[in-house]
């Protein structure tokens, strides 16, 4: 029996396993380290970091929904400097592979973040979260605007040079995901992260008002998995050469394999960790067992398998 090659790559970054935390769902990594060794997973994707400290949205920041949840955190975080001083050294010390997620309010802010991260060692890749309101354009979310998306990635690419792979994280709340994906790839993204949360709302029937402090929130969890699988499939069909880091409701190895077959090179686990801090480890073990049971010699062979004609 041959052993499975479980490794994967996103751009020029290599990872021993294809399982990652999802941005914003693992805080700084410390908390999950109580439950498993951070070096044992593919990597930690950090909470999206901005230039300055941010206190985020008012509470309540969550609502549970059928097989999912809404969150409206509003990118609370310590700002880049504190992040570089405290969180990165900790993760490096744990021998975790690190994907830093960045977020900005202007095209310039993204470039600034990239510039400061350029020289930081121990980082495997940058995930660029463009699901943020663009203050220069009436708060329209970057990821919903092909031109703004392109400009953000272009700015980051120019700043960062060819060193670090750029993973552009897209929102599913668009009419034509493939054209946005094409735009950011043309602008220099090495890989894509699909999908960010879906915009949703819950009304609190006691107050008869929107339940969340931020009114709307992002829907995540198993409820959105079929949307994520479709997004990965569509984008992989259009650009089979571009690696995809897939996320959206992945809770077990079967969910992960759906994403891999649809075209993902790696998977991020977010909401599932809230219900089960060991979810990533479970996904990793189950995915490995499934691939082996199906006779694959490597993860690579399974990537995009669902696109092959029925006859193969």
């Amino acid at each position: 029996m041959s052993t499975l090659d479980f490794s994967t790559t996103l751009g020029n970054a290599w990872f021993p396993t294809p399982t990652f935390t999802a941005s914003g769902c693992a805080s700084s990594g410390r908390e999950l380290a109580q439950f498993f060794d951070l070096a044992s997973i593919g990597g930690v994707v950090t909470k999206s970091i901005m230039s300055k400290a941010r206190s985020g949205r008012p509470t309540p920041r969550m609502a549970e929904t059928p097989s999912g949840m809404l969150n409206s955190i509003g990118l609370q975080g310590p700002g880049l400097d504190a992040f570089l001083a405290k969180d990165i050294p900790y993760l490096v010390e744990q021998k975790a592979r690190i994907i830093v997620s960045i977020a900005g309010e202007t095209v310039e802010e993204y470039s600034t973040l990239a510039r400061k991260l350029r020289a930081v060692s121990g980082i495997s890749a940058l995930e660029v979260n463009i699901s943020c309101p663009n203050v220069e354009n009436r708060g329209l979310v970057f990821a919903c605007d092909p031109e703004a998306s392109r400009r953000v990635i272009d700015g980051v690419r120019r700043t960062i040079g060819g060193e670090l792979p750029i993973i552009a994280k897209l929102s599913p709340d668009v009419t034509d995901l493939v054209s946005i994906a094409r735009g950011v790839v043309d602008a220099g993204a090495d890989a894509l992260a699909l999908i960010n949360t879906v915009l949703g709302m819950v009304i609190n029937l006691d107050t008869m008002r929107p339940h969340l402090g931020g009114k709307t929130g992002g829907l995540s969890g198993p409820a959105i998995r079929p949307i994520a699988v479709r997004a990965v499939y569509q984008v992989h069909a259009a650009m089979p050469q571009v690696p995809i880091l897939a996320m959206g409701g992945i809770s077990n190895g079967r969910d992960a394999l759906e994403m891999i077959a649809a075209g993902a090179s790696g998977v991020s686990i977010g909401t599932a960790s809230f219900g089960n801090p060991m979810a990533i480890i479970a996904v990793q073990d189950e995915l490995k067992a499934l691939l082996t049971a199906k006779g694959f010699n490597s993860l690579r062979q399974a990537i995009g398998y669902a696109h092959r004609p029925e006859s193969e």
Binding site: S55, T59, P222
Partner: protein, 278 residues
């Protein structure tokens, strides 16, 4: 830097008993060795709904008491109000059922080094963790007064055994169906004035905690309160459970109540900013 309770572990735990008490359910759950590391104020996070559940998040409950007996091993007690679908599911579980539990979580009530006079104030099921706390304080030689309040008698949780460690107990109900009619916070100003209360320990609805803060604000009385914000993960990774808290440098930060709480210093919580953008 605040971190997750270093004793926290994710275990499968068996229900030893589940009894209805007034409008609550008293669950005794076997958590083995972990019972020895639980402190008054700590809480647990429990998976609800079983294998095919559409509920993806854990529910948080204060540990009411722990006991370590030779026969049953270590157990913890929870007092659960059947509120929404998750807590109702939990209340419907029976002896022998297994739960997926993360325990212990969060901060604990600070115990004074001197035998001072303390006041414990509980609202609704908020009284649950106070009895275990009372025993500890009593053992340290503190004088322990207790005030319990709720909207109505069936929502007062005050077990017989629990009262042993308490020097005085007064009950308030809003409808007057048990004890005094009124709010549990009504007598506090007078009690502070008349006696030498050093610490108030409180657990209950946020409005109650905030009201106690207005009373103690400016006084010497320390206010340790166990807060309750909506929590998605309970282990510090989601940032949903935050409260605005004044930092040493005077700035206000949104702190995670599952890690920096649930027990917090009431005087630094920015009560008027709760539910507002900073």
């Amino acid at each position: 830097m605040s971190t997750i309770n270093k004793n926290a572990a994710n275990v499968r735990a068996t229900i030893v008993s589940n009894k209805r008490v007034g409008q609550y359910f008293q669950l005794i759950i076997n958590i083995g060795e972990l019972a020895t590391v639980c402190k008054p104020g700590n809480f647990v996070a429990i998976n609800v709904g079983g294998a095919n559940s559409r509920m993806v998040l854990r529910r948080a409950f204060a540990i009411s008491r722990v006991s370590t007996s030779a026969i049953s091993g270590g157990t913890m007690e929870l007092i659960v109000a059947p509120h929404g679908q998750g807590s109702k599911w939990l209340c419907s579980q029976v002896e022998g059922d297994e739960l997926d539990v993360i325990v212990p979580l969060g901060t604990a009530f600070g115990i004074p080094t001197e035998p001072v006079h303390v006041l414990l104030v509980g609202g609704g099921y908020g009284s649950a963790p106070l009895f275990g706390l009372a025993e500890l304080l009593n053992a340290r030689g503190c004088r322990v007064d207790m005030l319990l309040g709720a909207s109505t008698a069936a929502k007062i949780y005050a077990p017989m055994e629990g009262k042993r460690a308490v020097n005085s107990l007064r009950i308030y109900t809003e409808d007057g169906s048990m004890g005094h009619k009124g709010r549990v916070t009504d007598p506090i100003p007078e009690m502070i004035h008349d006696s030498n209360i050093a610490v108030i320990y409180s657990c209950g609805p946020m409005a109650m905690l905030s009201a106690i803060d207005s009373i103690t604000r400016g006084s010497d009385v320390v206010h340790q309160c166990a807060v309750e914000e909506s929590m998605a993960c309970g282990i510090g990774i989601c940032m949903t459970c935050v409260l605005p808290v004044e930092q040493e440098d005077g700035t206000v930060a949104m702190l995670r109540t599952c890690i920096d709480g649930p027990v917090m210093d009431g005087s630094v919580v920015q009560w008027e900013k709760v539910g507002k953008a900073l």
